[in-house]
């Protein structure tokens, strides 16, 4: 190996070391035959900010009942498609059986933090028996 090659190798190793230090990613292990009966719902995914969409993507939607047996329970799994950490804000808007927005029931803006390539479920419970439908709204974060 000549000096130039050796220098390039050192530079590459340093860059790899530096990038490893800057980003933290997630590996996962789970049961090959999960016992939970999952029935994913179809998602209508509207994108108005492609840069936000390319960072955090909704990948799975489940709808069920809360432990009280009555309230609507919604789980939206999101994935960070990047290697670096990501942070986004979201809120959930609720609608009644007629599709009318339930004013005063919109959730407050929440923040979700994701490590590189991490998947995380966002779980929400209908705040009223009148809430029959929902919409997740994602807002990009100023930093991270």
């Amino acid at each position: 190996m000549n000096t130039q090659h050796r220098f390039s190798a050192v530079l590459l190793a340093a860059a790899a070391f530096a990038s490893a230090g800057c980003s933290s990613t997630v590996n996962t292990v789970e049961s090959a035959n999960p016992s939970a009966q999952v029935t994913p719902e179809q998602m209508k995914h509207i994108t108005s900010d492609s840069s936000l969409d390319s960072i955090v993507k909704p990948i799975f939607l489940n709808i069920g009942k809360a432990d009280d047996g009555e309230s609507l329970k919604v789980q939206l799994t999101v994935k960070n498609t990047k290697q670096g950490k990501a942070r986004v804000h979201y809120r959930v808007e609720w609608k009644d059986a007629q599709g009318l927005a339930l004013s005063g029931y919109t959730s407050t803006l929440q923040t979700i933090h994701l490590l590189g390539a991490e998947e995380k479920p966002i779980i929400t419970i209908a705040p009223s028996p009148r809430a029959k439908d929902f919409r997740f709204v994602f807002i990009s974060s100023e930093s991270e």
């Binding site: 809360a66 009280d68 047996g69 804000h89 005063g104 407050t108 803006l109 929440q110 974060s141 100023e142």
Partner: protein
């Protein structure tokens, strides 16, 4: 002559600076443009904590075997054990609003910290007239605590606020539900936007 040039330059600089200063504006109280304080609980922290804790409460079977539907909750109190002073109603108000609108429970105005003198008087008069005294004024008690943990690394400060809330079943004297929400803020000084 030199003095007047300097004075003109100073006046122009002052005018420019005045033009650059940010004017006061309205922002969404729960939006990402609000101020984030490093050493105090902000309005959006109360909202986020209440939202998260109540989602957990509604997901639990706490009110499932309530003797009444909707269940009646008496607020025992939420204590502020942080180093800053604030009105606990900023959190309690959000909790009360959400619980009463959920249809799962109602908040007692006869007992607890949310009692109202007129309602209490009317209830007592009602009981006196009917000759029946009710011993079961409420089914559950709501109790909570806000704690803080502060740490520092160099010039970076970190404050964690811990919001704890429990619902106690009066009939058994046991906790029917309990949860906590942690809100951690990190930085060197307060800033606008999150």
């Amino acid at each position: 002559m030199k003095k007047s040039v300097a004075l003109t330059a100073l006046t122009a600089a002052a005018a420019l600076l005045a033009g650059c200063s940010e004017s006061t504006k309205y922002v969404d109280s729960q939006g990402p443009d609000t101020v984030v304080s490093i050493d105090k609980v902000d309005i959006q922290d109360f909202a986020a904590a209440a939202d998260s804790l109540l989602t957990s409460l509604y997901d639990s079977p706490a009110f499932l075997n309530s003797p009444r539907k909707p269940a009646i909750i008496a607020v025992s109190g939420i204590s502020n054990e942080t180093s800053t002073q604030f009105d606990i109603n900023m959190l309690l108000g959000k909790i009360k609003k959400s619980i009463t609108r959920s249809g799962k429970a109602e908040i007692s105005a006869v007992v607890g910290t949310t009692q109202d003198a007129l309602t209490k008087e009317a209830k007592a008069a009602q009981e006196f007239e009917s000759g029946k005294t009710s011993n079961n004024s409420h089914d559950f008690t709501l109790v909570g605590k806000i704690l803080e943990s502060k740490t520092k690394a160099g010039s970076t400060k970190q404050t964690t606020y811990i919001f704890q809330l429990s619902v106690i079943r009066v009939a058994t004297g046991t906790e029917a539900w309990s949860d906590e929400k942690l809100i951690t803020k990190q930085g060197s000084k307060s800033s606008v936007g999150w």
